[in-house]
């Protein structure tokens, strides 16, 4: 987890500090920058949380809704000299909203669907059957490394799954997949359904333990974040080393397992200049900023040009489960803005490392190719056929 140095206040004090601050981070808050209203500015949410927490405001659906108007991107904490972690300050109230049936209808619907299907985009069992036949040649039952694609990648981005498995193969790493890959629990955890999230976490931890896996690798930063940081808070122990794809392959590349720079291998024609979008859950949550960049420049041999806002202050694409569930319009506005920013770099391709960012940014792309890092890397290493932009 990103461990921003500096002051530490307990959550209650953090909430009070945020209420008393002149809202100095509002310009960075993605939700405030789109919605424009005080209620969903950082200070507005802290003020509401204080009033709800003290019972000065009746807890009802309308009052609770603003607590979900947060991208949970943590850019406010990154900026905050007092290290106020607003998504954490408001977490307990989202949990109360979920518990008491006060969460917004869209949130309740998502939770119900997820609990029913065990996966975000359709029944997990159906996915399992499809995946087993499609990737049979690339997985090794009994391997000690588990590739956990995550339900969004597995369902919506099969090419990213193929790319990642090809990268494992290229690096000479035998990798296994779960017979049935269910949700990691993050969406429910973020939306306030703590117990339900813990149940998913226990299921995954048990599956990892049963398979004897030593390492879990996922290309979804939300999956890796919840496993690394939130499972302990949910009372779940996951006995494996958890790595995001970018971290894992950057480590292998340092050991020389991926070859590179790509020019030395059959990398195909250059794809031009790329820019990189830091997913909130990979950068600010897990502190993973350099590995994807090292892969893009050092291994893939690409020219990287940064956006105005990158690294710790990278702008959110809108793809967290809060914003895009309760305010899809806000989320798509954020994606469009990020694409505009990427466009200003002059890069022909925008690379990211998160299936949710990919789903947000891809449709907003307007001629800019948007790729997952595994796909970009596999193409440059010549282990995945190139596709046109």
């Amino acid at each position: 987890m990103s461990d921003k140095a500096g002051k530490r206040f307990d959550l209650a004090t953090q909430g009070r500090i945020c209420v008393l601050c002149p809202n100095m981070c509002r310009y960075l808050c993605p939700v405030a920058s789109v919605e424009k209203i005080e209620t969903t500015s950082p200070r507005g949410k802290a003020t509401l949380a204080l009033g709800l927490g003290r019972g000065e405001i009746a807890f009802s659906e309308g009052e609770a809704a603003a607590l979900y108007h947060c991208a949970t991107c943590k850019i406010c904490r990154e900026w905050c000299p007092s290290n106020v972690d607003l998504p954490e300050v408001t977490r307990e109230l989202r949990e109360r909203a979920a518990r008491e049936g006060m969460a917004p209808p869209a949130v309740r619907n998502l939770a119900e669907r997820l609990i029913r299907d065990r996966s975000l985009h359709g029944p997990a069992a159906a996915l399992a059957a499809e995946g087993a036949s499609r990737y049979r040649q690339l997985v090794s039952p009994g391997a000690k490394v588990l590739y956990f694609a995550g339900c969004s990648t597995a369902t919506l981005q099969p090419r990213v799954v193929a790319a990642t498995l090809r990268l494992f193969e290229a690096a000479g790493v035998k990798v296994a997949r779960l017979q049935t890959e269910e949700c990691c629990g993050l969406p429910l955890d973020v939306l306030g359904f703590r117990e339900e999230a813990a149940a998913f976490a226990r299921g995954l931890a048990a599956a990892v333990e049963a398979g004897g896996y030593q390492t879990v690798v996922s290309g979804c930063p939300m999956c890796t974040q919840v496993m690394k940081d939130r499972y302990p808070a949910l009372g779940v122990t996951l006995r494996a080393d958890v790595r995001h794809v970018a971290e894992y392959f950057a480590g292998l590349a340092e050991e020389g397992a991926l070859g590179g720079p790509a020019g030395k291998r059959d990398a195909g024609p250059p794809v031009g200049v790329v820019t990189y979008h830091d997913p909130c859950y990979l950068g600010r949550y897990q502190g993973v900023y350099d590995p994807p960049r090292r892969l893009l420049t050092g291994v893939a041999g690409l020219a990287l040009v940064e956006m105005e806002r990158h690294g710790e202050l990278a702008a959110c694409c809108g793809g967290a489960f809060t914003t895009d569930t309760v305010r899809p319009g806000t989320a798509t506005s954020l994606a469009s803005r990020r694409i505009e920013e990427a466009g200003r770099t002059g890069a022909g391709t925008l690379v990211t490392a998160c299936p949710h960012c990919l789903e947000m940014l891809g449709p907003a792309g307007k001629g800019l190719a948007v790729r997952d890092i595994a796909e970009a890397l596999a193409e440059r290493l010549g282990v995945l056929p190139r596709r046109s932009a």
Binding site: K7, F9, T13, R16, I17, C18, V19, L20, C21, P22, N23, M24, C25, R26, Y27, L28, K36, I37, E38, T39, S41, G44, T47, L48, L50, G51, R54, E56, I57, A58, G62, E63, A65, A66, C80, P81, S82, E308, R344
Partner: protein, 505 residues
């Protein structure tokens, strides 16, 4: 100690809020629906969390009230128009209905200027957020007034320009708010304050009419209408567009700091620098208390003086050379460029205020100004009087905006305020001590924060005989007294809800 300063004051706030509350009237039937038709559905807010969020700005009293769960007046609705036409339609609807109208930008004002004293409708301008034109030949920019200062500056930076306006609130405040509160930026000694930058405005007048002033480099065509809106604090209408001067991005920026023997010597040194005709962008002198807390190893009792120069490289080098010559006459010790760099890096960090206040202390800043011949006496009088108030832990000052004729004093105080009532009481005692001391010493009661609600009790003494002119202008433009009632200066002759609410502070 002055006896008057020891009295709880202005305790009138509570009574004033009660009086203002009694002036509240429910919104006319169907008005919310008509507002939604004018501004678009989804841009009119009436839910309880929204009204609470808009019940405050960054006024310390409002913050204390939220912290301690004490009441603040709520607006009846909030509307966010998306164009000048929508602003005009909304304003006309409200004015015709006799509903108080409170313009709202970033909510970063520190004097309660956006508190909906008598209820009414807050008109939030933040959807007016576009840069309309960067004119590179004429060297001016036109933008809608709901854009945040930082977003405007970022857009200008991309094009190779700067406004040169860097108030501490730049990340929070809107352009309209910066104009309506008569703001000053940290680089004001070179670039001037907002009144030196504004070339033209578009505004919606209280009855809903749109007016534009002519864009020109200069005009001798009578009194200057655009200037009416500078510092109008939402009482004369709503600014919707503004055109401001631009500057090419500076080629070089360099700081130079000194340790000087005393605050008085520092002020004298700045005065002499200002007489040379050179204009370092930043000139900041901290009194011994603040210098000791700056972390720059300034000897006890001595003062830190920071200059930052920017512009063409040759000018920067020459300017700092001239500064060095002036400083040599004061035997000031050179501290190099680092203190200036560190100040630049941390200049907008205000975390000490909320952190101290979250621990039961009362912290605030206030700013006054004086001509060079009176500033030393003002510093001594005002800090002594503030320190004499029971509960005060510290009262200190720095000078941060200098002119040929004088400078400002930016005062910071810290006091004990363990519960809401005590906190507000000590807060108001300190303010009263400061404002009375300032007036006695011949200072100006506000340099760049404005009047808002907090300074209303001293506005009449500040303006003297000129107050009547301002009141007549306000009355002429807003005959019903509906625009931001109770703020800036009270108008007893206005028939609307603003008529007596102005006495509340």
């Amino acid at each position: 100690m002055d006896e008057a300063s020891d009295q709880a004051a202005p305790a009138g706030l509570e009574a004033g809020l009660a009086r203002a509350a009694s002036a509240r009237r429910p919104l006319p039937d169907g008005l919310v629906a008509r507002l939604a038709a004018a501004a678009g559905p989804g841009h009119v807010l009436t839910a309880a969390p929204d009204l609470r969020a808009y019940s405050r700005d960054s006024w310390t009293v409002a913050s204390l009230r939220v912290l301690h769960g004490r009441p603040l007046p709520l607006p009846d609705a909030v509307v966010l128009p998306g164009s000048t036409g929508e602003v005009a339609a909304v304003v006309k609807l409200l004015y015709d209905s006799g509903v108080p109208i409170i313009p709202f930008g970033g909510g970063s004002g520190v004097l309660g200027g956006t508190i909906a004293l008598t209820g009414g409708v807050i008109v939030d301008t933040k959807r007016l957020d576009r840069v309309l034109e960067i004119n590179e030949v004429g060297l001016h920019v036109t933008a809608q007034t709901g854009i945040l200062g930082v977003d405007l500056e970022t857009a200008l930076g991309r094009a190779g320009y700067t406004l040169g306006h860097f108030p501490q609130s730049i990340d929070v405040a809107t352009l309209g708010g910066l104009i309506a509160t008569r703001s000053a930026g940290q680089f004001s000694t070179k670039y001037g304050c907002i009144e030196d930058m504004l070339l033209a405005v578009e505004a919606v007048l209280p009855e809903g009419r749109i007016v534009r002033t002519k864009l020109t480099a200069r005009a001798a065509t009578g009194p200057d209408v655009k200037s009416l809106f500078i510092g109008s604090e939402g009482t004369l209408g709503i600014l919707t567009e503004a055109t401001l001067r631009l500057h090419p991005r500076p080629e070089k920026r360099l700081g130079q700091a000194y340790e000087i023997g005393s605050f008085e010597e520092g002020l004298e040194a700045i005065r002499r620098v200002m007489r040379t005709g050179f204009r370092p962008a930043v000139v900041r002198l901290y009194d011994p208390f603040e210098s000791a807390h700056f972390g720059e190893n300034v000897a006890q009792g001595k003062c830190l003086l920071i200059f930052v120069s920017e512009g063409p490289a040759r000018l920067v080098d020459l300017e700092l050379e001239v500064v060095a010559e002036v400083m040599a006459a004061f035997l000031a010790r050179e501290l190099g460029p680092e203190p200036g760099r560190r100040w630049l890096a941390r200049r907008n960090v205000v975390s000490g205020l909320p952190e101290f206040m979250s621990q039961g202390l009362v912290v605030d800043t206030l700013e006054v100004a004086a001509t060079w011949d009176g500033v030393t006496a003002l510093y001594q009088t005002i800090t002594e009087r503030m320190r004499a108030v029971k509960g005060v832990v510290s009262a200190s000052a720095h000078s941060s905006h200098s002119y040929t004729q004088g400078t400002n004093l930016y005062l910071t105080f810290l006091a004990l305020g363990p519960d809401g009532e005590t906190a507000e009481d000590v807060y108001q005692r300190i303010w009263r001590a400061a404002m009375e001391a300032c007036l006695e010493a011949g200072g100006t009661i506000a340099h760049h924060h404005g009047i808002g609600l907090q300074r209303v009790p001293w506005a009449a003494a500040e303006h003297g005989t000129s107050l009547e002119v301002l009141r007549r202008v306000r009355r002429a433009l807003d005959p019903k007294g509906l625009f931001n009632p109770g703020k800036l200066f009270a108008d007893p002759a206005a028939p609307g809800p603003g008529s007596d609410a102005g006495e509340v502070g």
